[in-house]
Symmetry: C2
Subunit: 318 residues, 2 copies
């Protein structure tokens, strides 16, 4: 008599993508409290640190300590971003479950973000793969190619789909277990998402199953609907929509986790996340980062009275 | 060598649905300026007045004068809302092209909004149809059944789909030329929209082709994508997202016209609307209604550099 529901992974990236563009450094204890509270609310995937030189990004100076805390929480899949081989080594030593390396399709963004061309970054990615494979203890670590500026670039403008296809295939060739597609700058629109996935998925060997939308122009949820229709089952989001990209002027934060979870649950997808508990974590952000802008519709409007979305949800999958 | 693009009608309803929940009365001259500027920007469908007793809604006391102004603008389809037979007579005498009568699926909302049950309102609707048919000069006026609380109701909560089907069919039976489906309170989610249209469209004799979303919980654009997939080609929207519903507590405004037009154009649909000119009209609102909250992503972020959305648009329909 079990009811089958489709699981969708919502990965909280606020601690990485969100905080990296917040100038005020969040105290380590507040980060730990956020992680614990998110875990308590049912979040099981978090990208929560960057292994970068502290001088470049003081916000991430506590990456090792933050990861160590996250690893104490049962069933939490811990992901860290690494811009290069050295960062990958540090992340692997810290014990993360997944490392994601950013590979920009746009050359201008790539140079601004990691000081390498896309091709040079793919070469670095291959070296990261070799590093992971060099140590048996790391064999279960998932290597994610985190493609950025997939749908457009603030510097370059239009990003040709053929460039995206080329970088995806080269990233797979270089050893990616998973390729995530990032709309770093909020350029994506529903038809663009659908068109790209139509072309890409038949070639991607099942490795493209994660999307990352910024809500710069309000399109993130509409884009998500199209991606769901194409079978994508993992999405990044940032609590209260905080963040942006320090190297993509004008880009605002990721889609708000609360709004994404609300929509997914109302559509009958199982996220495992308790929305009222998730909403309470906003207070942690407000306390620790009083200057940061918080976004989100559900936080403003509240969840619908009673269990209406859940009723709809159950009906939606019958 | 002409390129075929699919036309989508965007009906500006800010002057009616938006203003009816703004306490500050907008001066008639400002309304006229808004209408002219919208027409200048390419808007060709506007619902711009309610023919209700001025005592009940002072904001709409100038309905006849506003309609008279709108009728001077070439190719502008002028729609007014009428809550009863008397309002319909006044609207018809004023010369509107379309009259829309609100029929709530939720009985509680119906009683609050028009002081009639849904069935009693459908009877009134049939009388409005008789009135229109009684005068040859009015034979070209389109009669729209504007269904509200189709996806939920702040008073009643869940609105059963069988109730929606019953009211749609009864409204058609009572003489509607068009039935518009309104998410008065921002309850709709993408799967709900899809499920309802799947059930409804095969029964609706081609008369359901207009949807009306409020963006209370940020779902309006995602819902629009699903409706487009189902062949819906007319959508209501409100400049700067102003408005709500005075008889539906907690409902915020319609989806912002600017954001809807941006998405549609980026998806390759032809709206005929010039987005930069549309955005300029926000200044009219700010000047005339300094206390009203203005919303919208595109106004905040700007249109993308160059003609990127248009390029994508063209590519989307090849």
């Amino acid at each position: 008599m079990t009811q089958l529901k489709t699981n969708v992974v919502v990965q909280e990236v606020g601690l990485r993508d969100g905080l990296q563009s917040v100038s005020q450094v969040m105290p380590t204890e507040a980060k730990k409290a956020w992680i614990s509270a998110a875990h308590q609310a049912g979040v099981r995937h978090m990208e929560l640190a960057s292994f970068v030189p502290p001088k470049l990004l003081p916000q991430m100076a506590d990456a090792t300590e933050v990861v160590a805390h996250a690893l104490t929480l049962p069933s939490l899949v811990v992901t860290a971003l690494v811009p290069n081989l050295r960062g990958a080594e540090n992340a692997l030593k810290a014990g993360v479950h997944r490392i994601v390396a950013p590979i920009s399709v746009s050359e201008k963004h790539s140079l601004a973000n990691v000081r390498k061309t896309p091709d040079a970054m793919i070469e670095e990615f291959a070296r990261i793969r070799q590093l992971r494979d060099s140590e048996p203890a790391w064999s279960s670590v998932t290597l994610v190619g985190g493609l950025s500026t997939v749908f457009g670039c603030t510097f370059q403008g239009y990003v040709p789909e053929t460039d995206v296809l080329r970088v995806v295939l080269a990233t797979i060739e270089a050893g990616a277990d998973v390729v995530a597609l990032g709309d770093t700058t909020g350029h994506a629109t529903p038809s663009h998402v659908g068109r790209l996935l139509d072309r890409l998925l038949p070639l991607a060997q099942g490795k493209v199953n994660s999307l990352h939308f910024h809500d710069t122009r309000g399109m993130a949820l509409a884009n998500t609907v199209v991606a769901l229709d194409h079978g994508i089952r993992e999405f990044d989001a940032s609590l209260a929509g905080i963040g942006g990209c320090p190297n993509a002027p004008g880009a605002t934060g990721n889609v708000a986790t609360e709004d994404l979870v609300y929509m997914l649950q109302a559509m009958g997808y199982e996220t495992g996340i308790d929305l009222p508990n998730l909403l309470k974590i906003r207070d942690t952000l407000t306390d620790a980062l009083p200057e940061a802008s918080l976004y989100g519709y559900i936080a403003r409007q509240g969840i619908l009275d009673g269990s209406l979305p859940m009723q709809l949800s159950a009906r939606g999958v019958q």
